[in-house]
Symmetry: C2
Subunit: 226 residues, 2 copies
DNA sequence: CCCAAACTGTTTATGGCGTAAGCAAAACTG
DNA sequence: CAGTTTTGCTTACGCCATAAACAGTTTGGG
């Protein structure tokens, strides 16, 4: 399976040519997950899309979880190169924004990437770009990776939260939560005062990202233009 | 269902007394998830534990997803009060550390809390404590909540990562990833240099938390002892 | 006090899921 | 042209959540 993920295709020999390719299947699965969510991608429904039965897909992919792993790497895509000329800070901000956009296009990604699973080459390329951007900061190697992972965690959390509220049922949930909060106002004075779930005209993603980047900067020995 | 979560019990009248309580069921489910993971908690296996059939549980809980919602609120528990005498920063650090510990006791929580679902009173109490700790910082209300959510996202991400590596199969995954990284060394120079997946004797949780707290501090008008 | 209403836990059944095993036909290897 | 390999399909299994109908128990209203 790791071979599939990391491109080692294996040899081709006897027997009928496979009509499909793994790439085709994975792309169709990604499209399906984008449109209907990850749980809607069942082997049966995916195979239907090609006019085949569920079992035929198992000639290409060993298990459904492996399919999901492949979907993650495909949907993430290779990380774009970063312009480091203005320093690591805008570079990392760009990185986070682009990743945020990718997660936004594939809302199921944020939940799917939170499982224990083999990491693919494209996913790893994102981490590589971020670590590279932090090269001249005086942070130690593991610290650079940790810093990238903090930003990554923030991106995922924000996408997840946004997706939850955006879901048709999410808005209703937020509304009832607001009611409940007001009913139990005495138990949550700080949240009431913060009018936490009001018509929030703010950008939680940017605020958190700024916090994290400033915090990273405070731990670097060199200035952000380094 | 929200009634169940927020404690509105409803009246008791005719018919035999229920032998079980919702609380009993939820506690058993939490214990099961702690021991075997959330997917292992099926209605059948949970009912078996009480010597009942799966369907009997539906007299207490409308759907399995609702059971999970109840499990989350129960496992989180009410947030402990914070000692703010030393300022918001150590208070928030304590908050994050305790939450981290709770997530650590219930590894399934980190994934389960990432879904769109009604938030329970105990979960909300955690947010309340953090928002309260940030009261005197000069941050706006929504900013205080955003700051708390950034820390929360970090806690979740770290727990998730730690759980992935701790899983018996996770160690093997990390090892093969290391091999692959070395095989493709040319594509990932920064990660190689960072020896990202070496015998990391560092604490990613603390590093990220420090970054975030420093970043929050940079956005406060008042000093951390406020 | 009695009985109908309400509520219990049960059985039975449905439709979905992932996937193991076996099978005919296809296509490459010698 | 064999023989072997590999394909895509059929069949089948066990598990899942949960709908529907049912029999037994308790209790409130008359």
């Amino acid at each position: 399976m790791v071979d599939l993920l990391w491109g080692r295709d294996g040899k081709r020999s006897r027997g009928p040519r496979p009509v499909l390719t793994v790439a085709q299947i994975v792309e169709a699965a990604v499209a399906m997950a984008d449109a209907e969510g990850l749980p809607a991608v069942t082997m049966q429904r995916l195979a239907e899309r090609f006019g085949y039965t569920a079992m035929s897909l198992y000639r290409y992919v060993p298990k459904r979880t492996d399919l999901v792993t492949l979907m993650i790497d495909t949907a993430l895509g290779t990380a774009p190169p970063l312009d480091a000329s203005a320093g690591w800070k805008p570079a990392l901000r760009t990185w986070a924004t682009r990743l945020h956009a990718v997660f936004g296009e594939h809302p199921w990604l944020a939940t799917a990437t939170m499982q224990a699973r083999p990491i693919g080459p494209k996913e790893l390329s994102w981490l590589e770009r971020a670590a590279a951007a932090l090269a001249g900061t005086g942070l130690t190697g593991p610290q650079r990776v940790d810093a990238a992972l903090v930003v990554l965690g923030h991106v995922r959390a924000q996408v997840q939260a946004a997706a939850g509220i955006a879901a048709e049922e999410g808005a209703a949930l937020a509304a009832t939560l607001n009611e409940l909060l007001r009913e139990h106002a005495g138990d949550y004075p700080a949240l009431i005062e913060a009018s936490a779930f009001g018509p929030a005209a703010h950008d939680g993603f940017a605020f958190g990202l700024d916090c994290i980047l400033d915090g990273i900067e405070a731990r670097t020995a060199v200035d952000p233009l380094s």
